[in-house]
Amino acid sequence: MTSREAVLDTLRVNLAAVLARARVRVVASWRETSWVVGETVFPFLTMSAFVLVYRGLHAPRIYEAFVVLGGAMTAYWNNVLWSMASQFFWEKEQGQLQLYLITPVSRMSILLGMALGGMAMTTTRAVAILAGGTLLFHVPIPADRVLPALGLFALTLAAVYALGMILSSVFLLWGRSAWHTVTLFQEPVYLISGFYFPVRFLGAFAAGLAALLPITLGLDGIRQIFYGKAAHGFVPLPWIPPIEIALFALFLFLAHRALLLMETLGKREGRLTLRGG
């Protein structure tokens, strides 16, 4: 086999791994009805409660729209935490991780497949939350600004899932603490990312730190696209797409490095499989 053929073969195998891992996620997301209901209804109910908080406070309708957009984004963040960051931990518990490690594909391909499948799976949930919120609470979503918002949304997802790939490597070596640590990243991130209110109100310092999370920036930018100055944006809108691209590239690089490091460490310390007995 020539070197060109070897490269093409490696590409083909890795692409097949990406598609296979993504396919599992997409098929599984529809196979279990209770998951579809649970993953759509649960965040929807929480989101509705926060919409009603604003309604109870007689806040302008636009604040309810902030919550609906934030509610849709929570679906992605939860997916990143529970199905990306902690996925290798679940796989280890089920004995699947060792199978990945003996296959001749890059671990990055497995993670990329997980991310793409996760995005597809979560988009159905997020659309349901968004549609339900829009129809039930009549929140204003300007239709003429949907396309630029979708563009920024795509950049945000790329950076958010790249962050999930880093977390996945870090979680690889954790035991039961992985589970609990995920919950530490849930509600506190809802708070600092401004899922239910404009992040700017956290103050410059806290909001600046929160802006290191791509989901914070993305949500801030999407709200600015839809509602302009009324969105109380934190980072100027033109800055957000280049920052998201830079974060995506940085996180992807770090994910690759972290994965290699954690795998080597895990092999050396014998922590890639569960110990019996």
């Binding site: 649970g38 649960f42 926060f50 908080v53 604003y54 406070l57 518990e93 530490l184 109380h232």
Partner: protein, 280 residues
Amino acid sequence: MRRFWDVARAAAWLGWQVEANWADPVLFIAYSFAKPLATTLILWFMVAVVSHGHATRDTFLFLFLGNTFFLYVSEVLVGLSWAIFRDREDFETLKYVYLAPIRMIPYLTGRALTKIATASLGAGVALLFGKFVLGLSILGSPEILIRLIGVVLLGLLGIVFLGFALAGAALVMARHSMNLNEGLTGAFYLLCGAVFPIEVLPAWARGVSLALPFTYWLELIRRLLTGHAYAAPLRSMGDGALVGVLALSTVFLGAAATAWFTWCERTARARGLIDWKTNY
């Protein structure tokens, strides 16, 4: 009765080990405080944002108290059904619990006590944070605290009964149905007006809200700790009437949950589901 408490105590200790022995105390405490403090601050900012810095402390106080005490509902309801799934499928110990000369209700009571303890930790810290950091005027005379403990215990009894019902369902359900239990908790969060006055709900949902014991429980707690009524549809009811409704619904919940759990348990044993593995 003594046997009941012996089993409950042992199960509570087991539950505590499962909950807490994975981490050092500092990380465990951070984990216990993170959720209640984060949701408290989310609500704080929501009120502050809308009122442009002039947040009415009274308005926030009502949201704060509902959100803080609702922690018991989410912890116990989700926790008890999770205990069944984890024991059955992750630790594979449920079958040994059934082999031991104990009954399930005392065992689950013990597991519920652990959840109540961890929820109390979170709720306690949130209340202290609210009083001393956010400067909320929470009443705290000894007489009020005694009445509060009584009301909280009465509500907790109802929550534990409902937890038994969900644990019963978990015995006959696959692990991946867990989302439905979490969804049910979300529905209670929405319908009992934990973070907003129930009068903003549509009429049909308000009807459902008034059928839930947690609505009366949270209203009672708010009245005790602030001295004011909150939910408009309940303003005509005195504290005694609210306690009466809560007590009656607790008795009803207790009877219904016990009957349901017994049926589920019998079904699970008959179908060989006690050592079921449904993870995939």
